[in-house]
């Protein structure tokens, strides 16, 4: 039964990452029901929304890799009270940032010419394919981040304990959390 007090509003977003963190989130399984009692999930990659809603907490999976990500995360920052870097890509850049050792051109060449059976050309940033940033960045390099949840992906247990702490108004524990 929903409490009379308004539940905190929760959102999750997916930037430059593999969606593994969201998979891990779904691994909460039956605990998703507990979570639902504590918070209202307002937006996620699984829901269709035109405008990002006003929320209390946003989990951000993935690094900031292209211009769309950049615009998106700046917008989200304005509409969420707490922003959480969710998983290693958001926290460190991780696998998404592996391309930073090479230039953008080198990466595009590799993806769209060298390894492509049908060479159509390199997308140069249009409505369909956003332009890559010169460097993949962790989220906190672009906007202020309130909490960091490491792991590739963070385990369901860690996601659960983190969210439970946060939604109950406690300072989330940082112990026993590691990269990788």
């Amino acid at each position: 039964m929903d409490s009379l007090i308004k539940k905190p509003r929760l959102a999750t977003v997916w930037l430059g990452g593999c969606s593994g963190c969201h998979m891990s989130f779904l691994d909460l399984d039956e605990r998703l029901i507990d979570l639902h009692q504590m918070a209202e999930l307002c937006a996620s990659p699984l829901t269709d929304y035109k405008d990002f809603p006003e929320v209390d907490v946003t989990l951000v999976e993935g690094a900031v890799a292209n211009e769309e990500h950049l615009e998106h995360i700046r917008h989200i920052r304005k509409h969420t009270k707490l922003l959480i870097s969710f998983g290693d890509c958001a926290v460190t850049g991780n696998v998404t940032a592996l391309r930073n050792m090479f230039g953008v051109e080198e990466v595009l060449d590799r993806a769209y010419r060298e390894t492509s059976t049908q060479v159509i050309g390199i997308p140069r940033g249009n409505h369909a394919v956003p332009k890559l940033l010169d460097r993949v960045r962790p989220v906190h390099e672009v906007v202020k981040v309130d909490y960091f949840l490491q792991g590739c992906p963070p385990s369901a247990d860690k996601i659960y304990s983190f969210l439970m702490d946060l939604l109950a108004g406690r300072q989330p524990k940082v112990e026993e959390r590691r990269f990788g």
Partner: protein
């Protein structure tokens, strides 16, 4: 053998003259963080994680390089030290491409352990993303410079325990690199005995056995204690 009595984090402990603060602390249950230290080879005091405060001394001292003295009052875990250690770890993580998720040592890595132990949850400075090589020319082992923290454990174990001195450093500053012999591919080294000691002492995934994939690498450095005991006490005991 004279005994020295000192205080470490408010605890009265004893050590033998000539013993380091680091060893005495660990022997009495005080874990001082470290990355370049490994029992069985000499210490260099390079990683600066084991710095401690000693009452009456202005400078922070590397506990692995400082011997115990009678009446010393040592603090190993003050707020200042914790904050310095976290910042040092951040510097390390930003220096090379430590991408834990795709590392053979994921889950077993000492650098990863340190970040967890010291509560380093993100890196506040820019990552440098250097372009570095992986040397897989050796038949059994590989060297991934992306994972190397330049602790020089491999250099010391190869020199002091194996006696081969295959490893050393070239370049300086952030451009330093571990090299085999005079910079040859590892597989072409004339001095390497392929003993694998360097691989076992490497704290990260920089040195690894071939054929291991993400998270599969296990390292065992009990051999070092075995050899050192044999050498010093002439006892061949495991």
């Amino acid at each position: 053998m004279s005994v020295k009595t000192l205080t470490i984090d408010g605890k009265m402990v004893t050590g033998i003259a000539g013993e380091t603060i680091f060893n005495v602390a660990w022997n009495s249950g005080v874990r001082i963080p470290r990355l370049c230290h490994v029992g069985g080879v000499s210490d260099v005091g390079a990683c600066r994680l084991c710095l401690v405060e000693i009452e009456g001394q202005k400078k922070l001292m590397a506990s692995c390089m400082t011997n115990v003295e009678e009446g010393m009052v040592v603090r190993t875990n003050t707020e200042r030290l914790q904050s310095h250690r976290r910042l040092i770890l951040e510097l390390l993580f930003a220096e090379r491409n430590h991408i834990c998720a795709v590392c053979v040592m994921n889950g077993q890595c000492e650098l990863q352990d340190m970040a967890e132990e010291l509560g380093m949850d993100h890196v506040r400075m820019r990552y440098l993303f250097p372009k570095l090589e992986v040397d897989t020319s050796h038949e059994r082992f590989g060297l991934d410079h992306n994972r190397c923290i330049l602790c020089t454990r491999c250099v010391r174990v190869c020199d002091e325990v194996e006696g081969a001195h295959t490893w050393d450093l070239k370049g300086r500053g952030v451009n330093s690199l571990i090299i085999a012999d005079l910079g040859e591919p590892w597989g072409q080294s004339d001095t390497c005995t392929s003993c694998g000691k360097c691989v076992q002492v490497c704290p990260t995934g920089a040195l690894f056995s071939k054929g291991r994939t993400v998270g599969e690498m296990r390292k065992d450095r009990r051999f070092l204690k075995y050899i050192v005991t044999a050498r010093e006490k002439h006892q061949w005991i495991r």
